[in-house]
Protein backbone atom coordinates (compact mmCIF):
# COMPACT_ATOMS: atom_id res chain seq x y z
CA UNK A 1 0.00 0.00 0.00
CA UNK A 2 2.93 2.31 0.61
CA UNK A 3 4.29 1.95 -2.94
CA UNK A 4 3.03 4.31 -5.59
CA UNK A 5 2.17 3.05 -9.05
CA UNK A 6 3.08 4.37 -12.49
CA UNK A 7 0.77 7.38 -12.10
CA UNK A 8 2.03 8.38 -8.66
CA UNK A 9 -1.01 7.02 -6.81
CA UNK A 10 -1.26 4.14 -4.35
CA UNK A 11 -2.11 0.82 -6.01
CA UNK A 12 -3.72 -1.18 -3.20
CA UNK A 13 -4.56 -4.73 -4.30
CA UNK A 14 -8.30 -5.41 -4.52
CA UNK A 15 -10.06 -8.28 -2.79
CA UNK A 16 -10.97 -10.70 -5.56
CA UNK A 17 -13.90 -13.05 -5.00
CA UNK A 18 -15.96 -15.54 -7.00
CA UNK A 19 -18.23 -12.78 -8.32
CA UNK A 20 -15.48 -10.38 -9.34
CA UNK A 21 -12.80 -12.79 -10.62
CA UNK A 22 -13.75 -12.20 -14.27
CA UNK A 23 -13.51 -8.44 -13.90
CA UNK A 24 -10.13 -8.48 -12.18
CA UNK A 25 -8.64 -11.16 -14.47
CA UNK A 26 -9.49 -8.94 -17.44
CA UNK A 27 -7.87 -5.87 -15.88
CA UNK A 28 -4.61 -7.80 -15.62
CA UNK A 29 -4.80 -8.13 -19.43
CA UNK A 30 -5.68 -4.45 -19.91
CA UNK A 31 -9.33 -5.18 -20.75
CA UNK A 32 -12.53 -3.81 -19.18
CA UNK A 33 -15.28 -6.42 -18.93
CA UNK A 34 -18.67 -5.72 -17.40
CA UNK A 35 -21.79 -7.74 -16.62
CA UNK A 36 -24.97 -6.98 -18.60
CA UNK A 37 -28.34 -8.14 -17.32
CA UNK A 38 -29.91 -10.80 -19.58
CA UNK A 39 -33.38 -9.58 -18.65
CA UNK A 40 -33.26 -5.80 -18.91
CA UNK A 41 -29.92 -5.06 -20.57
CA UNK A 42 -28.71 -2.92 -17.66
CA UNK A 43 -24.92 -2.80 -17.45
CA UNK A 44 -24.19 -3.33 -13.78
CA UNK A 45 -21.60 -1.55 -11.64
CA UNK A 46 -19.93 -2.54 -9.32
CA UNK A 47 -19.34 -5.92 -11.02
CA UNK A 48 -21.45 -8.77 -9.65
CA UNK A 49 -23.37 -11.81 -10.75
CA UNK A 50 -26.76 -10.11 -10.61
CA UNK A 51 -28.63 -7.08 -11.84
CA UNK A 52 -29.66 -4.35 -9.41
CA UNK A 53 -33.22 -4.93 -10.59
CA UNK A 54 -34.60 -7.28 -7.93
CA UNK A 55 -34.55 -10.94 -8.80
CA UNK A 56 -32.37 -11.00 -11.88
CA UNK A 57 -29.29 -13.19 -11.43
CA UNK A 58 -28.52 -13.88 -15.08
CA UNK A 59 -25.81 -11.68 -16.57
CA UNK A 60 -23.50 -11.91 -19.57
CA UNK A 61 -20.02 -10.43 -19.39
CA UNK A 62 -18.83 -8.37 -22.35
CA UNK A 63 -15.85 -6.21 -23.22
CA UNK A 64 -16.56 -2.49 -22.79
CA UNK A 65 -14.99 0.34 -24.80
CA UNK A 66 -13.21 2.02 -21.91
CA UNK A 67 -14.49 5.38 -23.14
CA UNK A 68 -16.32 7.73 -20.83
CA UNK A 69 -16.89 11.29 -19.66
CA UNK A 70 -16.27 12.89 -16.26
CA UNK A 71 -19.57 13.06 -14.32
CA UNK A 72 -18.00 14.76 -11.31
CA UNK A 73 -14.50 15.39 -10.05
CA UNK A 74 -12.57 16.89 -7.17
CA UNK A 75 -8.91 17.62 -6.56
CA UNK A 76 -8.20 16.19 -3.13
CA UNK A 77 -5.49 18.31 -1.54
CA UNK A 78 -5.54 17.16 2.07
CA UNK A 79 -6.04 13.56 3.14
CA UNK A 80 -4.61 11.51 5.99
CA UNK A 81 -2.88 8.15 5.75
CA UNK A 82 -1.33 6.42 2.77
CA UNK A 83 -2.80 8.82 0.21
CA UNK A 84 -1.22 11.91 1.75
CA UNK A 85 1.90 11.70 -0.41
CA UNK A 86 -0.21 11.33 -3.57
CA UNK A 87 -2.06 14.64 -3.04
CA UNK A 88 -3.10 16.63 -4.93
CA UNK A 89 -4.87 13.97 -6.98
CA UNK A 90 -8.19 13.76 -8.86
CA UNK A 91 -11.03 11.67 -7.48
CA UNK A 92 -13.86 11.35 -9.99
CA UNK A 93 -16.96 9.61 -11.16
CA UNK A 94 -16.64 8.68 -14.82
CA UNK A 95 -19.76 7.81 -16.79
CA UNK A 96 -18.87 4.95 -19.11
CA UNK A 97 -20.17 4.91 -22.66
CA UNK A 98 -22.13 1.79 -21.64
CA UNK A 99 -23.91 3.64 -18.80
CA UNK A 100 -22.36 2.98 -15.40
CA UNK A 101 -20.83 5.77 -13.34
CA UNK A 102 -17.65 4.43 -11.75
CA UNK A 103 -15.58 5.88 -8.94
CA UNK A 104 -12.00 6.34 -10.10
CA UNK A 105 -9.02 8.65 -10.50
CA UNK A 106 -8.10 10.78 -13.50
CA UNK A 107 -4.37 10.40 -14.09
CA UNK A 108 -1.68 11.33 -16.57
CA UNK A 109 -2.55 15.02 -16.64
CA UNK A 110 -2.45 18.22 -14.59
CA UNK A 111 -5.11 17.73 -11.88
CA UNK A 112 -6.20 21.37 -12.22
CA UNK A 113 -7.29 20.80 -15.84
CA UNK A 114 -9.78 17.99 -15.18
CA UNK A 115 -13.41 19.05 -15.54
CA UNK A 116 -16.96 17.73 -15.69
CA UNK A 117 -17.90 16.63 -19.20
CA UNK A 118 -14.31 15.89 -20.19
CA UNK A 119 -13.79 12.84 -22.45
CA UNK A 120 -11.59 10.19 -20.86
CA UNK A 121 -10.21 6.75 -21.68
CA UNK A 122 -9.55 3.79 -19.39
CA UNK A 123 -6.03 2.96 -18.30
CA UNK A 124 -5.08 -0.02 -16.17
CA UNK A 125 -2.78 0.64 -13.23
CA UNK A 126 -1.19 -2.67 -12.13
CA UNK A 127 -1.24 -3.65 -8.46
CA UNK A 128 1.51 -5.84 -7.00
CA UNK A 129 -0.84 -8.85 -7.00
CA UNK A 130 -1.65 -8.83 -10.73
CA UNK A 131 -5.09 -7.23 -11.04
CA UNK A 132 -5.00 -3.63 -12.25
CA UNK A 133 -7.03 -0.66 -11.03
CA UNK A 134 -9.41 0.98 -13.53
CA UNK A 135 -8.31 4.59 -13.85
CA UNK A 136 -8.81 7.10 -16.63
CA UNK A 137 -6.75 9.59 -18.60
CA UNK A 138 -7.91 12.42 -20.87
CA UNK A 139 -8.94 11.02 -24.28
Amino acid sequence: MSELGQFGLPVPPPTVNLETQRFWDATAEGRLVLPRCDNCGHVVWYPRERCNQPGSTSVTWFEASGRGTVYSCTVTRRIPGSWRKAAPFVLAYVELEEGPRVLTNIVGCDPETVHIGQAVQAVFDPTPDGPALLRFTPA
Partner: protein
Amino acid sequence: MPSVTIRGKALIAGVYEHPGRELPDRTLPQIHAEVAAGALADAGLTLADVDAYYSAGDAPGFGALSMAEYLGLDLTYIDDTETGGSAYLVHVQHAAAAIAAGQVNVALITLAGKPRTGGAGPGGSARFSSAPEASFENQFGMSVPGGYALAAARHMHEFGTTSEQLAEVKVAASTHARHNPHAFLQDVVTVDEVVSSPVISDPLHRLDCCVITDGGGALVLVSEAVAASLDRHCVPVLGTGTAIKHTSGGRIDLTHTGATRSGPLAFAEAGVTPADIDYVSIYDSFTITVLMTLEDLGFCEKGHGGRFVSDGALQSPGGELPFNTDGGGLCNNHPANRGGMTKVVEAVRQLRGEAHPAVQVHDCELALAHGTGGSLATRMGSATLVMGRST
Protein backbone atom coordinates in the same frame (compact mmCIF):
# COMPACT_ATOMS: atom_id res chain seq x y z
CA MET B 1 -50.21 6.40 4.06
CA PRO B 2 -50.09 3.45 6.42
CA SER B 3 -53.46 2.48 7.86
CA VAL B 4 -52.05 2.55 11.40
CA THR B 5 -50.24 5.77 12.24
CA ILE B 6 -47.71 6.48 14.95
CA ARG B 7 -48.77 10.13 14.97
CA GLY B 8 -48.76 11.30 18.58
CA LYS B 9 -48.57 7.76 20.01
CA ALA B 10 -44.96 8.09 21.16
CA LEU B 11 -43.39 11.03 22.93
CA ILE B 12 -39.80 12.10 23.51
CA ALA B 13 -39.60 12.42 27.29
CA GLY B 14 -35.87 12.79 27.77
CA VAL B 15 -32.89 14.10 25.83
CA TYR B 16 -29.24 14.55 26.72
CA GLU B 17 -26.15 15.79 24.93
CA HIS B 18 -22.84 15.06 26.59
CA PRO B 19 -21.17 18.39 27.41
CA GLY B 20 -17.70 16.98 26.67
CA ARG B 21 -16.00 17.32 23.31
CA GLU B 22 -12.73 15.63 24.27
CA LEU B 23 -13.07 12.63 26.59
CA PRO B 24 -9.71 10.87 26.79
CA ASP B 25 -10.36 9.54 30.30
CA ARG B 26 -13.53 7.57 29.61
CA THR B 27 -14.25 4.29 27.88
CA LEU B 28 -16.83 4.09 25.12
CA PRO B 29 -19.28 2.12 27.30
CA GLN B 30 -18.88 4.73 30.03
CA ILE B 31 -19.94 7.47 27.66
CA HIS B 32 -22.96 5.41 26.55
CA ALA B 33 -23.84 4.97 30.23
CA GLU B 34 -23.42 8.67 31.02
CA VAL B 35 -25.69 9.81 28.22
CA ALA B 36 -28.25 7.12 29.06
CA ALA B 37 -28.36 8.34 32.64
CA GLY B 38 -28.62 11.92 31.48
CA ALA B 39 -31.59 11.36 29.19
CA LEU B 40 -33.40 9.18 31.71
CA ALA B 41 -32.88 11.77 34.45
CA ASP B 42 -34.24 14.43 32.09
CA ALA B 43 -37.37 12.33 31.68
CA GLY B 44 -37.67 11.47 35.36
CA LEU B 45 -37.05 7.77 34.71
CA THR B 46 -34.31 5.26 35.54
CA LEU B 47 -32.53 2.41 33.77
CA ALA B 48 -34.95 0.02 35.50
CA ASP B 49 -37.85 1.56 33.56
CA VAL B 50 -36.33 0.82 30.14
CA ASP B 51 -37.82 -2.11 28.21
CA ALA B 52 -36.42 -1.31 24.75
CA TYR B 53 -32.89 -0.32 23.74
CA TYR B 54 -31.56 0.98 20.43
CA SER B 55 -27.96 1.42 19.33
CA ALA B 56 -26.07 1.70 16.03
CA GLY B 57 -22.59 1.08 14.71
CA ASP B 58 -20.95 3.22 17.39
CA ALA B 59 -21.88 0.71 20.11
CA PRO B 60 -18.92 -1.55 20.87
CA GLY B 61 -18.80 -5.33 20.61
CA PHE B 62 -22.09 -7.05 19.94
CA GLY B 63 -23.77 -3.64 19.80
CA ALA B 64 -27.01 -3.35 21.72
CA LEU B 65 -26.59 -6.83 23.16
CA SER B 66 -23.21 -5.98 24.70
CA MET B 67 -24.44 -2.60 25.88
CA ALA B 68 -27.63 -4.01 27.41
CA GLU B 69 -25.49 -6.17 29.68
CA TYR B 70 -23.05 -3.36 30.50
CA LEU B 71 -25.89 -0.99 31.37
CA GLY B 72 -27.80 -3.67 33.29
CA LEU B 73 -30.94 -3.31 31.19
CA ASP B 74 -33.81 -5.79 31.38
CA LEU B 75 -35.12 -5.77 27.84
CA THR B 76 -37.94 -7.29 25.85
CA TYR B 77 -37.14 -5.29 22.71
CA ILE B 78 -33.84 -4.49 20.97
CA ASP B 79 -32.82 -2.83 17.70
CA ASP B 80 -29.35 -2.34 16.17
CA THR B 81 -30.37 -0.61 12.95
CA GLU B 82 -27.29 0.94 11.37
CA THR B 83 -27.55 3.70 8.78
CA GLY B 84 -24.54 5.73 9.93
CA GLY B 85 -25.18 9.15 11.45
CA SER B 86 -28.91 9.07 10.74
CA ALA B 87 -29.45 5.84 12.68
CA TYR B 88 -30.79 7.58 15.79
CA LEU B 89 -33.63 9.16 13.82
CA VAL B 90 -34.43 5.77 12.34
CA HIS B 91 -34.43 4.45 15.90
CA VAL B 92 -37.00 7.08 16.86
CA GLN B 93 -39.21 5.88 14.01
CA HIS B 94 -38.80 2.25 15.08
CA ALA B 95 -39.37 3.05 18.75
CA ALA B 96 -42.48 5.08 17.92
CA ALA B 97 -43.85 2.17 15.89
CA ALA B 98 -43.14 -0.32 18.67
CA ILE B 99 -44.74 1.99 21.23
CA ALA B 100 -47.78 2.54 18.97
CA ALA B 101 -48.08 -1.24 18.66
CA GLY B 102 -48.10 -1.59 22.44
CA GLN B 103 -44.86 -3.59 22.48
CA VAL B 104 -42.72 -0.97 24.23
CA ASN B 105 -43.30 1.49 27.08
CA VAL B 106 -39.90 3.13 27.55
CA ALA B 107 -37.31 3.16 24.75
CA LEU B 108 -33.70 4.26 25.23
CA ILE B 109 -31.46 5.29 22.31
CA THR B 110 -27.77 6.04 22.88
CA LEU B 111 -24.80 7.30 20.87
CA ALA B 112 -21.18 7.63 22.02
CA GLY B 113 -17.80 7.92 20.39
CA LYS B 114 -14.24 9.13 20.71
CA PRO B 115 -13.00 9.96 17.22
CA ARG B 116 -11.06 12.94 18.61
CA THR B 117 -9.00 11.32 21.34
CA GLY B 118 -9.70 7.62 20.89
CA GLY B 119 -7.71 7.06 17.74
CA ALA B 120 -10.10 4.81 15.88
CA GLY B 121 -13.07 6.02 13.90
CA PRO B 122 -16.62 4.97 14.59
CA GLY B 123 -17.62 1.31 14.64
CA GLY B 124 -18.25 -0.75 11.61
CA SER B 125 -14.93 -0.18 9.83
CA ALA B 126 -14.18 -3.91 9.80
CA ARG B 127 -17.49 -4.49 8.07
CA PHE B 128 -16.73 -1.85 5.43
CA SER B 129 -13.67 -3.74 4.18
CA SER B 130 -15.78 -6.86 3.53
CA ALA B 131 -18.54 -4.95 1.70
CA PRO B 132 -19.17 -6.10 -1.88
CA GLU B 133 -18.43 -2.59 -3.14
CA ALA B 134 -15.20 -2.19 -1.13
CA SER B 135 -12.62 -2.90 -3.83
CA PHE B 136 -14.44 -0.61 -6.28
CA GLU B 137 -14.38 2.39 -3.95
CA ASN B 138 -11.62 2.03 -1.40
CA GLN B 139 -8.81 1.82 -3.97
CA PHE B 140 -9.18 5.40 -5.18
CA GLY B 141 -8.45 7.61 -2.18
CA MET B 142 -12.00 8.67 -1.42
CA SER B 143 -11.89 10.51 1.90
CA VAL B 144 -15.17 11.55 3.50
CA PRO B 145 -14.68 15.19 2.38
CA GLY B 146 -13.63 13.94 -1.07
CA GLY B 147 -16.90 12.09 -1.52
CA TYR B 148 -19.00 15.08 -0.47
CA ALA B 149 -16.85 17.27 -2.71
CA LEU B 150 -17.96 15.16 -5.68
CA ALA B 151 -21.58 15.92 -4.78
CA ALA B 152 -20.84 19.62 -4.29
CA ALA B 153 -18.96 19.88 -7.58
CA ARG B 154 -21.84 18.29 -9.49
CA HIS B 155 -24.40 20.51 -7.73
CA MET B 156 -22.37 23.58 -8.73
CA HIS B 157 -22.16 22.29 -12.31
CA GLU B 158 -25.89 21.65 -12.64
CA PHE B 159 -27.32 24.56 -10.67
CA GLY B 160 -24.64 27.24 -10.47
CA THR B 161 -24.26 26.93 -6.72
CA THR B 162 -21.25 28.86 -5.40
CA SER B 163 -18.72 28.42 -2.61
CA GLU B 164 -19.99 31.67 -1.10
CA GLN B 165 -23.51 30.22 -0.89
CA LEU B 166 -22.22 27.07 0.80
CA ALA B 167 -20.32 29.30 3.22
CA GLU B 168 -23.59 30.96 4.28
CA VAL B 169 -24.57 27.67 5.93
CA LYS B 170 -21.44 27.69 8.08
CA VAL B 171 -21.84 31.38 8.88
CA ALA B 172 -25.39 30.81 10.16
CA ALA B 173 -24.26 27.87 12.32
CA SER B 174 -21.44 29.96 13.77
CA THR B 175 -23.79 32.79 14.76
CA HIS B 176 -25.70 30.20 16.83
CA ALA B 177 -22.64 28.45 18.27
CA ARG B 178 -21.39 31.65 19.91
CA HIS B 179 -24.26 31.29 22.40
CA ASN B 180 -23.47 27.64 23.20
CA PRO B 181 -20.83 27.38 25.95
CA HIS B 182 -20.23 23.72 25.05
CA ALA B 183 -19.73 24.34 21.31
CA PHE B 184 -16.41 23.09 20.00
CA LEU B 185 -16.07 26.19 17.81
CA GLN B 186 -17.58 29.36 19.28
CA ASP B 187 -16.26 32.07 17.00
CA VAL B 188 -18.53 33.69 14.46
CA VAL B 189 -17.04 33.37 10.97
CA THR B 190 -17.67 35.29 7.76
CA VAL B 191 -18.23 34.09 4.21
CA ASP B 192 -14.75 35.35 3.34
CA GLU B 193 -13.20 33.37 6.16
CA VAL B 194 -14.91 30.19 5.00
CA VAL B 195 -13.91 30.49 1.36
CA SER B 196 -10.35 31.47 2.23
CA SER B 197 -9.83 28.54 4.61
CA PRO B 198 -7.65 25.74 3.17
CA VAL B 199 -9.22 23.61 0.45
CA ILE B 200 -9.58 20.00 1.60
CA SER B 201 -11.06 18.63 -1.61
CA ASP B 202 -12.36 21.07 -4.25
CA PRO B 203 -14.77 22.80 -3.79
CA LEU B 204 -14.96 22.09 -0.05
CA HIS B 205 -12.84 24.13 2.35
CA ARG B 206 -11.91 23.24 5.89
CA LEU B 207 -14.74 25.41 7.22
CA ASP B 208 -17.27 23.60 5.01
CA CYS B 209 -16.57 20.48 7.10
CA CYS B 210 -18.08 19.53 10.46
CA VAL B 211 -16.03 19.24 13.63
CA ILE B 212 -14.59 15.97 14.93
CA THR B 213 -15.61 15.52 18.55
CA ASP B 214 -15.83 12.94 21.30
CA GLY B 215 -19.05 12.66 23.19
CA GLY B 216 -22.54 11.42 22.59
CA GLY B 217 -26.17 11.76 23.40
CA ALA B 218 -29.31 9.86 24.25
CA LEU B 219 -33.07 9.96 23.78
CA VAL B 220 -35.92 8.43 25.78
CA LEU B 221 -39.25 7.75 24.09
CA VAL B 222 -42.33 6.76 26.03
CA SER B 223 -45.94 5.78 25.51
CA GLU B 224 -48.80 8.21 26.13
CA ALA B 225 -49.56 6.42 29.41
CA VAL B 226 -46.00 6.78 30.69
CA ALA B 227 -45.85 10.38 29.50
CA ALA B 228 -48.97 11.19 31.49
CA SER B 229 -47.19 10.00 34.64
CA LEU B 230 -44.16 12.25 34.13
CA ASP B 231 -43.66 15.87 35.17
CA ARG B 232 -41.51 16.62 32.13
CA HIS B 233 -42.72 18.31 28.94
CA CYS B 234 -42.91 15.39 26.52
CA VAL B 235 -42.62 16.10 22.80
CA PRO B 236 -44.87 14.00 20.55
CA VAL B 237 -43.48 12.37 17.42
CA LEU B 238 -45.89 13.38 14.66
CA GLY B 239 -44.30 12.00 11.52
CA THR B 240 -41.40 9.78 10.49
CA GLY B 241 -39.79 8.78 7.22
CA THR B 242 -36.80 6.69 6.22
CA ALA B 243 -35.40 6.18 2.72
CA ILE B 244 -32.33 4.42 1.44
CA LYS B 245 -30.62 5.82 -1.63
CA HIS B 246 -27.69 4.00 -3.24
CA THR B 247 -25.74 3.86 -6.46
CA SER B 248 -28.50 1.91 -8.27
CA GLY B 249 -26.18 -0.47 -10.05
CA GLY B 250 -23.87 2.28 -11.23
CA ARG B 251 -26.35 5.07 -11.96
CA ILE B 252 -25.66 7.29 -8.95
CA ASP B 253 -27.21 10.72 -9.01
CA LEU B 254 -24.97 13.01 -6.95
CA THR B 255 -27.32 15.98 -6.66
CA HIS B 256 -30.21 14.40 -4.73
CA THR B 257 -30.43 12.80 -1.29
CA GLY B 258 -32.80 10.26 0.22
CA ALA B 259 -34.67 13.22 1.73
CA THR B 260 -36.70 13.39 -1.49
CA ARG B 261 -38.52 10.31 -0.18
CA SER B 262 -38.09 10.38 3.61
CA GLY B 263 -39.37 13.97 3.78
CA PRO B 264 -42.74 13.45 2.08
CA LEU B 265 -43.35 10.33 4.20
CA ALA B 266 -42.77 12.27 7.41
CA PHE B 267 -44.80 15.30 6.31
CA ALA B 268 -47.71 13.11 5.22
CA GLU B 269 -47.79 11.19 8.49
CA ALA B 270 -47.67 14.42 10.47
CA GLY B 271 -50.27 16.04 8.23
CA VAL B 272 -48.15 19.14 7.70
CA THR B 273 -46.14 20.80 4.93
CA PRO B 274 -42.69 22.39 4.90
CA ALA B 275 -44.33 25.81 5.21
CA ASP B 276 -45.74 24.81 8.62
CA ILE B 277 -42.32 24.05 10.15
CA ASP B 278 -40.96 26.60 12.65
CA TYR B 279 -37.49 25.14 13.21
CA VAL B 280 -35.25 22.59 11.46
CA SER B 281 -32.29 20.53 12.61
CA ILE B 282 -30.58 19.55 9.36
CA TYR B 283 -27.71 17.07 9.22
CA ASP B 284 -24.62 19.12 8.54
CA SER B 285 -21.64 16.87 8.00
CA PHE B 286 -20.71 19.43 5.34
CA THR B 287 -22.31 22.65 4.14
CA ILE B 288 -23.39 20.92 0.92
CA THR B 289 -25.32 18.33 2.95
CA VAL B 290 -27.54 21.08 4.37
CA LEU B 291 -28.09 22.83 1.06
CA MET B 292 -29.14 19.68 -0.81
CA THR B 293 -31.29 18.44 2.07
CA LEU B 294 -33.25 21.71 2.28
CA GLU B 295 -34.01 21.42 -1.44
CA ASP B 296 -34.98 17.76 -1.19
CA LEU B 297 -37.26 18.34 1.80
CA GLY B 298 -39.11 20.97 -0.20
CA PHE B 299 -38.09 24.11 1.69
CA CYS B 300 -37.05 25.55 -1.68
CA GLU B 301 -37.05 24.49 -5.31
CA LYS B 302 -34.45 21.96 -6.46
CA GLY B 303 -31.31 23.81 -7.41
CA HIS B 304 -32.29 26.99 -5.55
CA GLY B 305 -30.65 25.97 -2.27
CA GLY B 306 -27.78 28.36 -2.77
CA ARG B 307 -30.07 31.36 -3.10
CA PHE B 308 -32.30 30.10 -0.29
CA VAL B 309 -29.54 29.94 2.34
CA SER B 310 -28.19 33.38 1.48
CA ASP B 311 -28.95 36.59 3.38
CA GLY B 312 -29.19 34.90 6.76
CA ALA B 313 -32.23 32.74 6.00
CA LEU B 314 -31.02 30.01 8.37
CA GLN B 315 -30.21 32.31 11.29
CA SER B 316 -32.16 32.51 14.50
CA PRO B 317 -33.80 34.73 15.33
CA GLY B 318 -35.09 36.51 12.28
CA GLY B 319 -34.26 34.10 9.48
CA GLU B 320 -36.88 32.56 7.23
CA LEU B 321 -36.01 29.05 8.44
CA PRO B 322 -33.96 28.92 11.67
CA PHE B 323 -31.69 25.86 11.68
CA ASN B 324 -29.22 24.10 13.98
CA THR B 325 -29.48 26.62 16.80
CA ASP B 326 -26.94 24.69 18.89
CA GLY B 327 -24.30 25.42 16.25
CA GLY B 328 -24.83 22.04 14.60
CA GLY B 329 -22.14 19.65 13.53
CA LEU B 330 -20.37 22.46 11.72
CA CYS B 331 -19.56 24.29 14.98
CA ASN B 332 -20.98 22.63 18.08
CA ASN B 333 -20.68 18.85 18.09
CA HIS B 334 -20.58 15.84 15.77
CA PRO B 335 -19.97 13.09 18.33
CA ALA B 336 -18.64 9.80 17.00
CA ASN B 337 -18.69 11.33 13.51
CA ARG B 338 -22.46 10.92 13.67
CA GLY B 339 -24.67 13.99 13.78
CA GLY B 340 -28.18 12.55 14.01
CA MET B 341 -28.55 12.39 17.76
CA THR B 342 -27.74 16.04 18.39
CA LYS B 343 -30.19 17.02 15.65
CA VAL B 344 -33.07 15.48 17.58
CA VAL B 345 -31.83 16.88 20.90
CA GLU B 346 -31.80 20.49 19.69
CA ALA B 347 -35.21 20.12 18.03
CA VAL B 348 -36.65 18.94 21.35
CA ARG B 349 -35.00 21.87 23.14
CA GLN B 350 -36.68 24.24 20.69
CA LEU B 351 -40.12 22.66 21.14
CA ARG B 352 -39.76 22.79 24.93
CA GLY B 353 -38.63 26.41 24.77
CA GLU B 354 -35.31 25.38 26.28
CA ALA B 355 -32.91 26.44 23.54
CA HIS B 356 -30.55 29.27 24.44
CA PRO B 357 -32.71 32.41 24.77
CA ALA B 358 -30.64 34.17 22.11
CA VAL B 359 -31.60 31.55 19.49
CA GLN B 360 -34.93 30.26 20.78
CA VAL B 361 -37.57 30.36 18.04
CA HIS B 362 -40.61 32.30 19.24
CA ASP B 363 -43.71 30.12 19.56
CA CYS B 364 -41.97 27.03 18.20
CA GLU B 365 -44.84 24.61 17.54
CA LEU B 366 -43.45 22.30 14.87
CA ALA B 367 -39.88 21.15 14.39
CA LEU B 368 -38.22 18.90 11.86
CA ALA B 369 -35.03 16.89 12.33
CA HIS B 370 -33.25 15.24 9.43
CA GLY B 371 -30.38 12.78 9.36
CA THR B 372 -28.12 11.77 6.48
CA GLY B 373 -26.01 8.69 7.20
CA GLY B 374 -23.45 7.08 4.92
CA SER B 375 -22.28 9.34 2.09
CA LEU B 376 -23.80 11.59 -0.54
CA ALA B 377 -21.19 10.06 -2.87
CA THR B 378 -22.30 6.45 -2.59
CA ARG B 379 -25.13 5.18 -0.38
CA MET B 380 -27.07 6.87 2.37
CA GLY B 381 -29.77 6.31 4.92
CA SER B 382 -31.99 9.40 5.10
CA ALA B 383 -34.39 9.86 7.99
CA THR B 384 -36.86 12.67 8.71
CA LEU B 385 -38.79 13.33 11.90
CA VAL B 386 -41.55 15.86 12.50
CA MET B 387 -42.17 16.67 16.15
CA GLY B 388 -44.61 19.00 17.84
CA ARG B 389 -44.79 21.07 21.01
CA SER B 390 -48.02 19.16 21.60
CA THR B 391 -50.31 16.85 19.66
